[in-house]
Symmetry: C2
Subunit: 206 residues, 2 copies
């Protein structure tokens, strides 16, 4: 089975492969490491979990590697997503074009504010949060994205898990408790700033 | 010096440490690994770059480890941030409380739409993008966050680098070309969905 750290790097490798010119046929682990800002030995080790298909001296076949990563990430399946909390962040997520080409489709937008219900974001009509449980009975929902204020997030997480949604992506700055079996990921853009902060001073800090 | 992969994991370790009860004095690498969803050997290796202060059999001193990570990430310094493009995403970033407690302070919001200029987001008045270069002469800007549509992003990146801003965090779904020496990080929330996608099928895919 794949280590968690390897799984987390696969989308990055895929993004690098997708950025290559369409005419590219192969890529070395060294070049993939340079593009993804990681070290070559780590790249080779990560990709070895996907099966042995790197060719010594030639590298990896770009299309085959991308297809294998997509299959490993389950991108060949159509995954449905709902967004809860259609404020600034929820609206940006509803309008974001980057989900579709990775196999994720937004099938529902929910909010607790009656003034928002009935409006559209990203071409989808916002539904009242009270309808989530009922809608989940007839629509298979794979991921719930929480974009509400922190104080509402735990309540929304409970609604999602009771509705049988197996995965949650949480943007609200709070620690959520979810039942075992629910996959939870926390997003915090401040993390990206902290990583930039390390490099800003120009010298490698320890 | 620290490997890039280690630097990227430090904010996650810090978040786990900050979530511990205030009464906690020590933590083992095993527990920190479990909390951060990584393996214990990797945690020990990462932390060994910060100096040798884990105590065999006892683990790490929580406050000391957190302080050392903060220092390594340069969080002790006051870092100034500007956000370019105050639409849905830019507004959510301007209002986000998670920057302040990590040493990042938003000092400017810029937009190209005259209808947005003069409005406030997160308590800060939106300025016209034409003013960025002049403002950068009098205010030290450490990071520029790009939250514009993709087609405007390259132009904004050029403005930021010409204004002497050393780091860019880009949300627009496009590959930016920036001069050497500018630290660039690309954010894509779809990556988080792809990682969730791997675990969704319940079986470890290869
Ligand atoms: N993780 C990050 O990096 C990051 C970045 C920016 C913002 N945020 C967080 O994202 C969240 C949203 O930010 P925003 O600027 O869009 O806020 P916002 O106030 O604009 O939007 C919040 C929305 O949630 C709705 N809501 C409140 N309670 C609800 C409930 N119980 N069920 C359904 N909807 C509910 C509100 O009606 C509103 O439309 C905040 O928690 C903020 O801290 C996180
Ligand atoms: N990376 C991710 O995970 C992610 C998630 C959501 C949205 N996005 C991206 O973030 C961007 C913003 O999304 P949004 O929903 O907030 O869009 P939006 O249309 O609501 O906001 C864009 C803002 O940029 C301003 N703008 C346009 N050109 C500009 C320029 N040259 N200089 C300064 N400002 C300019 C516009 O006036 C507008 O206010 C988009 O590129 C979107 O694809 C990325």
């Amino acid at each position: 089975t794949l280590p968690a750290a390897t799984v987390e790097r696969l989308p990055r490798y895929l993004r690098c492969l997708e950025m290559l010119a369409p005419s590219r046929v192969t890529i070395s682990s060294k070049e993939l490491a340079r593009l993804s800002n990681l070290n070559a030995a780590g790249v080779r080790k990560d990709l070895s979990y996907l099966g042995s298909f790197g060719m010594r001296g030639v590298g990896y076949h770009v299309d085959e590697l991308a297809a294998r990563i997509r299959r490993t990430l389950g991108m060949t399946e159509d995954r449905t997503v709902v967004v809860i909390g259609i404020g600034n962040l929820g609206s940006a997520l509803a309008n974001y074009g980057g989900f579709g080409n990775r196999g994720f489709r937004i099938v529902g937008l929910y909010d607790a504010d009656p003034a928002k219900v009935g409006r559209k974001a990203g071409g989808i009509t916002i539904r009242p949060i009270e309808r989530l449980a009922k809608d989940a009975e007839t629509t298979d929902i794979a991921v719930g994205i929480i974009a509400t204020p922190a104080k509402a997030a735990q309540g929304v997480a409970a609604l999602l898990s009771e509705a049988g949604v197996p995965s949650i992506l949480n943007f609200a700055p709070t620690v959520l408790n979810v039942p075992d079996g629910i996959h939870l990921r926390q997003v915090d853009v401040a993390t990206e700033l902290q990583i930039l902060g390390f490099y800003m001073a120009g010298r490698n800090r320890t």
